[in-house]
Symmetry: C2
């Protein structure tokens, strides 16, 4: 857990006031900078010490063998793993003849600040070398939102109280030695030195010195280029020299400073990669990006960055009063969600964004089910781009469906490039709900933006091919009910089941949405071979979907038979996460839930359940849900709020919000949990704000828990920026764009909001139908006291 005293709560910053070497890894993730194309972990400028060095390019991966003790038909043989690419962040410093290394000498002060409005990571350090020379270092790092291929570092050293000779080494380093992460020696071998040098060059322009390194991956054959350009300002004589080699390039700066004088290095970085383009094209792309950065200048890059973010925050900010930690956390979350998706531009958004190598850098359903719902209402273009990426991979998904004996397209459970990379099918291939989640994201985009642009550009093919998949996965029984057998829902402690409710309702929605979309897009539908008869089968199946219910217990079953399974013995299994201490066979057969599953269905398909149903589901499943997944708390916050347990919703919200800031899962060092970060927003907006838009009608039913005095957020809805300002007693809806208006339901009551005419209404009373539920022993969320 990240010590709170080193990270004081601040509404627009994440500030680290001292350096704790044990927390380096998680701080590197928290302080990661990215624009969705380039990702820099928050490594120290000098490279060491580190938790894990990390520089990533979206979708730049290496292949590795997937081994099986007993292989089976359809098991993917090739995995994909994100590559730590050429590191351009590094600026090493020597004070006289001693390296600046925080582990030696005396670190008088060290502070790092991630500024959520500036989009920069700044660092200040005051250090006395072992020989007694005192210096101050200030660095500012950014990965540009505006210039997609560009990052930059400004590094300033001041001689504090005596003259020193300073040597700076500004570097590009490829094939950094990595801490070993895989047990399998073959895998480790592949990833140990994944980059093969293609070209290395020194460049020298008037007033700057730099280099370019071009590499390709050994197996996947992708090519990348990294370039740097160094500008140096210092009083007196300065020697600047650049050398390059296969796996490194180094600009060395030497100067002598008097006390009070400064050496300033401005380092522009540019990255490019391609599976198709030639070496010269990549090299030139990097040179061009560097030229653009130089033209803009460091101050210009800072200004652009701030302007980009100001526009984002204007339409996306969430203001919270009464819980300062949640206030900070939701902005931190929105910032990182934006970083993950902003400039991905038809590449996927991985579960860790570009903040770390966790989950091999793979994209999961997290993107469509957690991240895109946030981006759809705050940065819709990024959401559409991520979905266009899915549409671009439809041929891989079609091929996978064929391999599995299915129709349509089966999108991968986990992937970088588009091919299934899951090595354990019961929790991979069988989790077909990912297809419904993708389809739902396509449909959500249309509903929220009112735009058909995505539907005609990739969206329809996704809807149609996933509908076809469902038709081949499902079957009708003798009574005409439509079932889906042999699949795994969100709860990874219950696998390969019949009629998982979340999956079934998702499939039905997918089928019905596809049918409606084909009516809207008859020509496009025809070009995909969709007949009217096929659409009719979709409507038939979608309208007849089975939703298992236990008549004796009067509660829905997460899947057929779930409530008849043996109960989990919580007392005998006190160690979490359970999957590290119990075999799947035992988890699968018992009533123990890893993460919100039926509760996810309550949230996604609110109209499929009565208020009584929802209360019963929360009551039954809460004591059986262990939250061993970071995806769970946000959804539990939403359903707790929906059934009137507002304090519990607040507790879950807090948990979702602090998964990374407090390192609750002890793996923030591998990268941030994008879904949980996004979940913070979902918990606030859908949970406390009670927002739903199923069926195309925007609905709110906000309630604040004890202690929260205000929640204000803005969403984009059909080109309108709607702000919702909630206090314990009333809520004000305002359409912020001139001349705009929209109609919504407030607590079931229709309201039209026109720009310049905010509408204030009283919050509806809360009447929970059942008492606050218990959680499994030791798994209640931390209670937010006031």
């Amino acid at each position: 857990m990240i010590a709170q005293d080193a990270f004081p709560v601040d509404p627009w910053q994440v500030r680290e006031t001292r350096l704790d070497l044990d927390l380096l890894g998680s701080a590197e993730s928290v302080f990661a900078l990215s624009n969705g194309h380039i990702g820099f972990r928050g490594n120290l400028d000098e490279g060491e010490p580190h938790g894990l060095p990390g520089t990533y390019l979206n979708s730049f991966y290496e292949e590795r063998p997937l081994p099986y003790a007993e292989a089976g038909y359809g098991y993917p043989e090739v995995g994909q793993t994100v590559v730590n690419v050429t590191d351009g962040k590094i600026v090493r410093l020597f004070v006289d003849d001693e390296p600046f290394d925080v582990r030696y000498g005396t670190l008088l002060a060290h502070e790092r600040v991630l500024d959520l409005r500036a989009g920069t990571l700044t660092r200040t350090a005051e250090w006395v070398s072992p020989a007694g020379k005192r210096i101050r270092v200030r660095s500012t790092r950014l990965v540009s939102f505006v210039q997609r291929a560009v990052a930059a570092v400004e590094y300033v050293v001041e001689a504090v109280d005596a003259g020193v000779r300073l040597t700076l080494q500004s570097e590009l380093v490829a094939n950094q030695a990595m801490p070993r992460t895989a047990d399998d020696p073959r895998v480790a071998a592949v990833l140990e030195s994944p980059l093969v040098c293609v070209e290395h060059d020194t460049t020298r322009l008037e007033g700057s010195s730099g280099a370019t390194l071009v590499h390709r991956t050994r197996v996947s054959g992708l090519q990348m280029a990294a370039g740097m350009e160094n500008h140096v300002h210092a009083p007196g004589r300065v020697d600047v020299e650049t050398q390059d080699a296969e796996d490194w390039a180094r600009t060395t700066v030497v100067c002598a400073l008097e006390a009070g004088q400064e050496l300033r290095l401005t380092k522009y970085l540019a990255y490019g990669w391609s599976a198709l383009r030639s070496r010269p094209a990549l090299r030139d792309q990097v040179a061009g990006a560097l030229a653009g950065a130089r033209f803009t200048g460091f101050e210009g890059l800072l200004r652009e960055q701030r302007e980009y973010l100001a526009e984002f925050w204007d339409a996306a900010d969430v203001h919270v009063e009464g819980d300062a930690e949640v206030q900070q956390a939701v902005r931190f979350a929105l910032f990182h969600v934006l970083q993950a998706g902003a400039r991905a531009e038809q590449r996927g958004i991985p579960a860790k964004g570009l903040t770390g190598p966790g989950y091999d850098g793979h994209i999961f359903w997290d993107t469509e089910a957690y991240v895109l719902p946030v981006l759809t209402y705050t940065a819709p273009r990024a959401a559409a781009d991520a979905l266009r990426w899915r549409a671009r991979t439809v041929d891989d998904a079609r091929q996978r469906a064929r391999e599995l004996g299915l129709s349509g397209a089966a999108f991968p459970w986990r992937t970088i490039r588009g091919q299934e990379s899951s090595g354990y099918w019961p929790a991979g291939t069988a989790a077909f709900h990912v297809n419904a989640d993708i389809a739902a994201a396509v449909e959500r985009y249309r509903v929220a933006t009112g735009s058909l642009e995505l539907e005609t550009d990739g969206g329809l093919v996704v809807l149609v091919e996933t509908a076809r998949l469902w038709m081949s996965l499902g079957h009708h029984d003798a009574q005409g009910r439509w079932h889906v057998a042999g699949v795994t829902g969100p709860d990874e402690y219950t696998a390969v089941v019949v009629d998982n409710v979340f999956t079934n309702l998702g499939a039905a929605q997918n089928l019905l949405a596809a049918a409606r979309a084909c009516v809207r897009q008859p020509d496009l539908a025809r070009s995909l071979g969709v007949t009217l008869e096929e659409q009719a089968t979709w409507r038939d199946a979608g309208g007849a979907v089975a939703v298992p219910y236990d008549e004796d217990l009067r509660v829905h079953q997460q899947c057929e038979g779930f409530t008849r399974r043996p109960e989990w013995d919580f007392a005998a299994n006190p160690h979490y996460p359970l999957l590290l201490h119990s075999p799947y066979f035992d988890l699968y057969r018992k009533q123990v839930v890893k993460q919100a599953d039926l509760q996810m269905a309550l949230f996604w398909f609110p109209d499929a359940f009565s208020a009584q149903d929802k209360a019963r589901v929360v009551d039954y499943y809460e004591p059986r849900t262990v939250r061993d997944s970071s995806l769970s708390a946000a959804v539990q916050a939403i359903t707790a709020a929906e059934v009137g347990h507002l304090e519990l919703a607040h507790d879950y919200l807090y948990e979702a919000a602090t998964v990374d800031l407090r390192d609750l899962h002890h793996n923030t060092g591998d990268g941030l949990h994008m879904a949980s970060l996004a979940g913070t927003w979902l918990a606030l907006v859908h949970g406390l704000g009670g927002m739903r838009d199923n069926g195309g009608t925007l609905r709110f039913d906000p309630h604040l828990p004890e202690g929260l005095t205000r929640l204000r957020f803005t969403i984009r809805w059909h080109e309108v920026k709607l702000s919702v300002d909630i206090t314990p007693e009333e809520v004000t809806y305002a359409a912020r764009d001139h001349g705009s208006s929209l109609t919504l339901l407030h607590a079931g009551q229709e309201v039209t909001v026109r720009s310049g005419e905010p509408v204030t209404l009283p919050v509806a009373p809360v009447h929970p139908l059942l008492p606050r539920p218990a959680q499994p022993p030791g798994r209640a969320p931390v209670h937010r006291d006031h």
Copy 2:
């Protein structure tokens, strides 16, 4: 498929009349010799060409890593693989200066005969060397049933029509180069050269020359010794010389023969291995065994072998009239089943015996469910020994149960030494029925032999610890029915289910048998901590076991919900075995059955089903059972016979009988299918003979299909040899031991049979309740026309 014309049908032999190099591998398995301790594949004397060289010692294995693309708790990390040990079979021959190699020169004649009464593999070859020299070779090979550590080869070369110089090389060869079988380079590396030399010595005794090689495995650290002693007889001058090195020893014999003269080599071989004993002890053990062999002489070994087999056949032979292939096959089967178990002596009996490296040389439930039922009634001491091996591994099984969060003992799905080595848990760990199968074998031994010897020596601990396992696996529902959730039955196309009928009835029988055994053995039970209360819980659960039944379709469900699953599309999936063409996810969720499962329950638990139930089960499941496992046909023969489909029973019997002789599964080259071989006997005795002894009463209800004119078999029952002689019209029961008598049921009627007073009774009429069922398209067994 093995060409029938090269293998003419013979009641007491398997004879190969010409050498087909494409069939070498399967012939090596068919012609394998073993005594259950040493196994020799039927490799040619000169070692090459070969399908797969193979020399095995029961339970001598190497460890290898089990890799996982995504590992999970409780997955075994270490696998066990049978090792091809030092090969002592090799006798190379040079004719003048040319090696005798059947691929060169002209092979005028080549015949091999496996003699089922002699227990030998003999070979005769007539060959003209590329230089035109004609020789005859006769070799006779045996692995002694009587002298457990001993094998021997007699090798005779005759110069046919001209003088030749002959050079013989009689060898021991360790670490033979093997065809690569594993894709995983790490695994291949481990198994490429598994033996490390510990000692190599030449021995020279009066009149003989030989050598000993001692090796140990690299990882598992087992030690083995192989010794040879060569005796040479030839006219005129003979030079004999022995050399030894780390991985080989060679006795070279050189002589010159005139036309018509013979060179005769007698080679005694001895093997020993141990995990505990010292190098000198092993070396001496081998020397001692060689001394015993020399003392007995080759003729003596042949005589002993014949006597041993005569005694076996006297009590075990099955005589079939009307189907010569089945006649041959059942004797072939009994011979190999005997070879697999005869002298295993508290080691396991692998699924392939010691005939090949298939399934890594692992032991599965095949042993207890197929092989031991045959041995129990024909060679009961071997059955008891195999079960004592299980009892000896109970501590490993207890530890595995702890690992899985269970009580009692969880015996491994696959293993050599006793530890679970399964790398795919849904078809490994989850197949808990193996525990009920082992318990059933213990109980069967007591019922059939009337002896409590095994029960007090390991049997009770097996019954008690498996009963405890079931109590921790099962649970009661609100109505008091006892269920078992999350397990896999015999059908590997349906996994991780609730209430698999075979498993449930097996568990119930296990619980009840354990409770009764504890009443018989109160002191022993107390020493295992069994209380009267614990026994009561066993009886309660065992008496309340759930057996799912579909009221609408009026048929039992193989497991809960089975008959409600989607149907398999046989037309769309014409390629078998299905598991090579379809993913588990699709197989698991549909009504497609790999192998007899519910039909196995009909056979094992005949009293749990009415005649109507049985007819319905066969009718419903036959069209859904694809027989992708060699374990299936025998059981389907038995149930077909039971419900009156005698021709179908005959067809299935024929399939079970010829799985290896006709290489029906295209993998006989990896080793023989012991379970299917044993199944031939089961199909004849339990199927056509209608034998059951559930509840301790021996019952018969024999019927012969059209075409079979006689079936006569002998079983041992309570120390009595009972022969049953069946014709289409009547059956004669005879107690063959002087002064003995026993009571049995014939077609439900009680009969007492006294020695010297055979009882002849009419066969009961057959009335099938339903028509002959169909099988999946293309999967009907070959019909036995008459």
